[in-house]
């Protein structure tokens, strides 16, 4: 999928920063918010960014968006089919 001559999606200024969480980080996030995975917002594996960062189903992705109110806001999304 990743062509060498293609630019990285994450370099585009309209695509917020996506980052895969490790098993450990993921469980910490769930613990922090006291929720289970299903309560997270979802994102599909077919989503180009997820393919770009190599996300698998049931991974948790950290999204850092620019925010009008807080400059930068953290979001977490669960990768689904």
């Amino acid at each position: 999928m990743k062509g060498s001559n293609k630019f990285s999606l994450l370099d585009h200024n309209l695509v917020p920063h996506h980052q895969l969480l490790s098993e450990n980080e993921a469980s910490q996030v769930l613990k922090k918010y006291n929720i289970n995975k299903e309560q997270l917002p979802k994102i599909k594996v077919k989503e180009p960014v997820i393919q770009e960062i190599g996300g698998q189903v049931s991974d948790i992705v950290k999204v850092i968006r620019t925010s009008q109110t807080a400059r930068e806001a953290e979001f977490y999304r669960l990768v689904i089919e």
Partner: protein, 881 residues
């Protein structure tokens, strides 16, 4: 007692009920149209059979043994002698008849197509998408073949007459399809074909749309009422059922007697009519069934449909007790948190009070006063829950017999807390808790300063009041919905309640420049406020002390308040002169003393109100409320002291000014003519991204707009700062400089869709102009002012522009209202959790931090992250940056 076990709904399946099912759920077959016997008891197997539920107190249901009110009611059934069509499915029957073979009932499509459509339907179902488009295509395709591909039978056209008669065209004569014929055809459709037309053969066989059994609704949903004369009056549904059963009986008798076909058909049609109107009495093509009085009957469909129907009228909207509604009118002498309640309403509305050792004497006094002597009581509830009405006759006696543990319904009196509401309730400030003030006359009175949150005015608006009935509700209302807790709007973090109109004009007049007040004047000024001490005078003239207007305002500011900001009248000079501002636009408050600046809309107005905002955030909402009360009272005193009026002569401008304006407009017209000349010569340079035509229009509009603004400036200059309209526009109390420009200077360009007016005749707007005239006057430029009066053509153009404005507002309000409603409906049950996350009712995370920054807009400074700057400013009393 009827017991119910709570269960969780897993899924809901829609389908048709089979005749078998109807019989299974029925508790009795109804065979007679009679209801009650001579002794007034329900007849067995009649329409009021006690097995179908009871409505008379004392009787018990023969099915569930419940009393009236406990028994939910049970269905019965009528065996129809001949099948009839269910009107609700008339369209479906038509589609099926046209798409299936008249001999073998096969769906007229070849097997490949059937397979293809079935596939599509299944995938759509899986995705939860509607399948209407596919089934419609199925019916469209199946209608086409003229000969059945399975049995070779020739297909005939099926015509539909009115709602539920189907006719086949047989050569030159028509053959009427009886419901029984149709039922036979539907029965023969195979399960596979049923799936292709989008139905589920297990839950909805097509023949079930033809009724052979009619369910009889329980008595509880069609109760009869006993009139005062002792006569029983039956529900509309019962009337309709009586008709159905009578015809059904007659039909049976005639058929058994071997009556001629013609009579049978007539009766059949009559039965069809009654069953149709039983379900829907507003089918087009069917005359509505009427009551003896001529009133159309309210049958099943009418109970559900429309504004007063079950859904919109009873489930989404309900009526409540302990509420009142009347016209509102202003009363500036009330506190912002008060509401004036008419005496007649206060005597009707009550609050329950428990009798205790501590209040028994007080309660006794209420009872002694009775229902006609205002703060009295209307009802007594004894400990056995028996309610006794207090009357003029028994009030003394009741006052003596009152015991601990009883309750009384006390009349509304001053200081009680009530909810006050104006529809449409678009935001939470549409319902606020006020303190009652009982007043004479018949309108609710409210302080004009609370109009903005309700969006109320006094042109005939009505508002609702709800009296809280429990201590908990009152406590909650005091702490959460009281007016003072809602001064700050969660929408933008600033005050939504504040001075309006005269309050602002008054404050402006009082504080601008260095107005001086004598002792008696300033005492009068502060007489309506809660101030009790007068400050030291600013100085003396002729041995008499005087105070400044700014000092008057300083009295109502909390001590210790420090503020510095530029008022709305600031003209943004290159270098701010701060306290020495020529316009007195730099507001400086030190330790609660107004040292410089003019108080206007930005200080105390609704939506702006910087001082109000600051006081609430630093001193709490109670102090904020008091400040608004004081400021509005002071403002009105101010406006009364200086006098404030506006008349037609206030739009007069001196001769020299009108000459200047005429000259200016002449110049502008010349410039426009010049532009047109350049354009006609083809020398007009187009602006980037525009055509030459667009460029010309743009430049003309610009030129004329500039001209109008300049006339405004000229007019404004000559009107002077003492002019009431100028005062209102500058202070932000009402109107703008544009309004003034149009009144005294020049009305300006009239526009349709942001362009000059072009519509009308070919090449010209009106026959007054030459074809192709591009000049200002020919395209809706109004040279005159409202004062000087418009010429006939100007008047016409003005009407065009004005109409567009009216249509725009009408369309916009309805559209944006619906848009907002949808948004609110989608978001209404999201909730900010204690950990700062936003979750929906299922616990799904919507935001990980509320608003991404976790800040409550009500507690931020106008939703801007300026807290630090404000803290520095309030400590140093200097504007930062």
């Amino acid at each position: 007692m009827f017991k119910t076990v709570p269960k969780r709904i897993k899924e809901i399946r829609f389908g048709l009920i089979s005749p078998k099912e109807y019989r299974k759920m029925s508790v009795t077959r109804v065979i007679t149209a009679d209801t009650y016997d001579d002794d007034g008891f329900p007849i067995e197997m009649g329409l009021m059979d006690p097995r179908m539920g009871v409505i008379d107190p004392g009787l018990r249901c023969k099915t569930c043994a419940g009393r009236a009110g406990e028994c939910p009611g049970h269905f019965g059934h009528v065996e129809l002698i001949a099948p009839v069509i269910h009107v609700g499915f008339a369209k479906l029957i038509r589609k099926i008849l046209r798409g299936t073979c008249r001999e073998c009932s096969a769906l007229l499509l070849d097997s490949n197509h059937k397979k293809k459509y079935l596939e599509q339907i299944r995938t759509m179902r899986k995705m939860g998408q509607p399948i209407e488009d596919i089934t419609n295509e199925v019916f469209k395709e199946a209608r086409k073949p003229k000969i059945c591909m399975y049995c070779g039978a020739k297909q005939l056209d099926v015509k539909v007459e009115k709602p539920s008669t189907y006719v086949e065209k047989m050569g030159d004569h028509d053959h009427k399809l009886m419901p029984s014929d149709i039922r036979v055809r539907l029965e023969k459709i195979s399960n596979e074909d049923i799936e292709v037309i989008g139905m589920d053969p297990n839950n909805a066989r097509p023949e079930w749309v033809i009724l052979t059994v009619l369910p009889v609704p329980p008595v509880t949903m069609r109760p009869s009422i006993t009139l005062e004369s002792g006569q029983r009056s039956e529900d509309d549904l019962t009337h309709k059922l009586v008709d159905i059963i009578r015809i059904n009986q007659r039909f049976q008798e005639n058929r058994e007697a071997g009556a001629p076909q013609l009579i049978i058909e007539d009766l059949w049609e009559l039965l069809q009519y009654h069953v149709t109107t039983f379900m829907d009495n507003a089918v087009s093509g069917v005359p509505p069934a009427r009551h003896r009085s001529g009133r159309p009957l309210k049958t099943l469909s009418q109970r559900l449909k429309g504004k007063e129907g079950r859904f919109r009228g009873s489930l989404s909207g309900k009526r409540v007790n302990f509420s009142a509604r009347t016209v509102i009118s202003p009363d500036p002498n009330l506190s912002v948190s008060e509401v004036g309640v008419p005496l007649s309403i206060a005597m009707e509305m009550t609050i329950p009070v428990n009798v205790t050792t501590r209040n028994i004497e007080e309660v006794r006094e209420y009872i002694r006063r009775g229902p006609d002597n205002h703060p009295g009581a209307n009802y007594i509830e004894r400990s056995d829950r028996r309610r006794i009405k207090i009357t003029d006759i028994n009030r003394e006696e009741m006052a003596e017999t009152i015991e601990l543990g009883w309750k009384i319904d006390r009349q509304l009196k001053n200081g009680d807390i009530v909810l006050f509401n104006r529809q449409p309730s678009l935001h939470r400030m549409s319902i606020m808790a006020h303190n009652v003030k009982v007043l004479p006359h018949k309108t609710f009175r409210l302080n004009p300063a609370v109009c903005p949150p309700y969006n109320a005015d006094f042109d005939g608006d009505e508002m609702n009041m709800h009296v809280l009935q429990t201590e908990e509700a009152r406590a909650e209302a005091m702490m959460l919905i009281h007016v003072q807790e809602n001064i700050l709007s969660p929408r933008f973090g600033g005050p939504i309640i504040g001075g309006i109109h005269d309050h602002i004009s008054g404050m402006y007049l009082l504080t601008r420049g260095d107005s001086r007040l004598s002792k008696s004047e300033i005492l009068d000024m502060l007489s309506k406020t809660k101030i009790e001490e007068l400050s030291e005078p600013a100085g003396e003239v002729d041995g008499k002390p005087y105070w400044t207007g700014k000092q008057a305002v300083s009295h109502i500011l909390p001590s210790g308040l420090n503020m510095a900001y530029r008022a709305g009248i600031c003209e943004n000079c290159d270098t701010c002169k701060k306290e020495n501002c020529d316009l007195d636009a730099y507001v400086l408050v030190k330790d609660g003393q107004l040292l410089s600046g003019t108080i206007e809309e930005k200080a105390v107005g609704a939506f702006k109100g910087l001082i109000v905002d600051k006081i609430i955030k630093d001193y709490g909402s109670a102090r904020g409320l008091q400040f608004i009360n004081d400021a509005t009272m002071l403002g009105i005193k101010g406006v009364m002291h200086y006098g404030f009026s506006f008349g037609i002569s206030d739009e007069d401008i001196p001769n020299e000014a009108s000459i200047q304006i005429t000259e200016l407009l002449g110049e502008a017209e010349d410039k426009v003519m010049n532009l047109i000349l350049v354009y006609n010569e083809g020398n007009l340079e187009p602006l980037p991204g525009r055509t030459v035509d667009e460029t010309l229009e743009l430049k003309i509009m610009q030129e004329l707009g500039k001209a109008r603004d300049t006339t405004g400036n000229i007019a404004g200059k000559y009107l002077g700062l003492e002019n009431a309209a100028v005062v209102m526009a500058k202070s932000g109390a009402r109107g703008s400089m544009l309004n003034l420009t149009q009144m005294a200077g020049c009305v300006g360009q009239q526009a349709v869709r942001g362009e000059r007016i072009r519509r009308g005749y070919a090449g010209r707007t009106l026959s007054n102009f030459h074809t192709g005239d591009l000049g200002a006057a020919a395209h809706g430029f109004v040279k005159n002012s409202y004062k000087s009066g418009l010429s006939p053509t100007e008047y016409f153009f003005h009407a065009i522009g004005g109409r567009e404005g009216l249509v725009d507002t009408a369309v916009r309000t309805s559209q944006s209202g619906y848009l907002q409603r949808r948004l609110v409906n989608a978001l209404q049950d999201l909730e900010v959790q204690y950990d700062g996350t936003v979750k929906d009712t299922r616990g799904m995370v919507v935001q990980f931090k509320y608003g991404e920054d976790g800040i409550d807009p009500m507690k931020s400074e106008f939703s801007k992250p300026q807290a630090i700057q404000w803290i520095i400013e309030s400590v140093t009393s200097k504007e930062v940056k």
